[in-house]
Amino acid sequence: MSIWEYANPRKFMQTSAWALPWVAGLAVVTLLTGLVWGFFFTVDDYRQGATVKILFVHVPAALMAVNSWLMMLVCSLIWLIRRHHVSALAAKAAAPVGVTMTLIALFTGAIWGQPMWGTWWAWDPRLTSFLILFLFYLGYIALWEAIEDPDTAADLTSVLCLVGSIFALLSRYAVNFWNQGLHQGASLSLAPGERMAMAFKLPLYVAMAGFVLLFVTLVLIRTRTEIRARRLRALEARGRMA
């Protein structure tokens, strides 16, 4: 029994068909719990008022925006090294979810920033690097769309993902160098200092778990769709040959 068994599309379809309702159900439950708890059962912050509650969407979305790219990077590596088709399709499936999460993080940040910082947008390193991440996602998706042959597309997008990761990281540190920050530091960190109160932290953890599960659900559904589309194309091709 090894993890590579799931690289077999049939095995993947079987397992994911079984797992999908559970993951989806758990995602709904944790998301509802986390968001309802966060929105309605936490106190207002003494300086930020009710606007602080946008945190329960903003932080998990930002988390998933970055982790979705990381997942694509790992999937691209697996495709380049071991050439498992499910891996390439999962990377393709994750990109639109990741771009949506990036947009959610950017927009919720703007909505929060308007009353708090007095501006919708500032060229702060964190904001800027998210905008850059959005551009990388766009390029990646556009390259998938532009190439007809699925294997060529998988190869080229994987190479782009590897090189893009290096440059995304470079950009992250370059914008740090380029401009001073307005954004607060890491929301959750082990380092000592001013920390979030437990009353906010717990629902935030639940909401983060909810977003992770939501991401897994969406990627599973989209990967299954991609596999089905691939099978359909193979059947059509066979029909034309006959």
């Binding site: 390029g139 080229l156 190479v159 090189v163 370059a174 160098f177």
Partner: protein
């Protein structure tokens, strides 16, 4: 490899190669900016390093299709891929030829255009140095983007979408170096980072680009 370099240089400089087009584009962009932001000297002096860097970047982007697309059309790219020299060095040489015909002329033209934009005195040296050391990175990153899109019809627009985000770190350090130089601040740190990016791009990207070409020629 030297023969390949000479061939690319000749193709670029002779009729139909579009050697002057990049420079002309650079000139026009620089001339358009004052019309957009107004003729006031102080404003222009402040934005001059950034404008010149962005202009050089766009001019370099527009000539990227020359690296592989034309060779792919007439079939010589297939011959180069089967030639006895490794495809990685073909890519490196072609990117070098692109720099010699685009980045180098842009670097030499930039100080003259900086006069139009009222760049302060100490800025000239840093602008030229940052462009000279930064534009090779633009050519090598661009070669990678061109390699990704070489087999595509209408790949030009897609290539800009792929390449421009990759240009961001180079642009940040390059323009920052020129800006600090123009303000008579210490500009050493961004220059070192810029050189690091250039060296990294020259070392790594030919391999990525060659991998992409192999996929595209399959």
């Amino acid at each position: 490899m030297i023969a390949l370099l000479l061939r690319d240089l000749r193709l670029a400089t002779r009729a139909g190669g579009g050697f002057g087009l990049g420079l002309a584009f650079f000139l026009i962009v620089t001339v358009l900016v004052p019309f957009g932001v107004g003729p006031e000297g102080g404003t222009l002096a402040r934005i001059a390093p950034g404008i010149l860097w962005v202009g050089a970047l766009l001019a370099s982007l527009l000539s990227l299709d020359r690296i592989f697309a034309l060779d792919h059309e007439d079939g010589s790219l297939d011959l180069l891929a089967t030639a006895p020299i490794p495809l990685e060095s073909v890519v490196a040489v072609k990117a070098l030829a692109h720099w010699l015909t685009t980045g180098l002329p842009l670097t030499l033209a930039a100080p003259m255009l900086a006069v139009l934009l009222n760049l302060p005195g100490p800025g000239f040296f840093w602008l030229t140095v940052s462009l000279a050391l930064g534009t090779p990175a633009l050519s090598y990153i661009g070669a990678f983007g061109a390699a990704l899109t070489v087999g595509l019809k209408r790949g030009g627009l897609l290539m800009s979408l792929l390449v421009l985000p990759l240009y961001i770190p180079t642009l940040i350090y390059g323009a920052d170096c020129a800006r600090r130089g123009a303000a008579a601040l210490a500009a050493g740190t961004p220059l070192l980072m810029l050189v690091a990016i250039t060296l990294g791009a020259v070392a790594i990207l030919p391999f990525a680009a060659a991998a992409a070409i192999r996929v595209n020629l399959r």
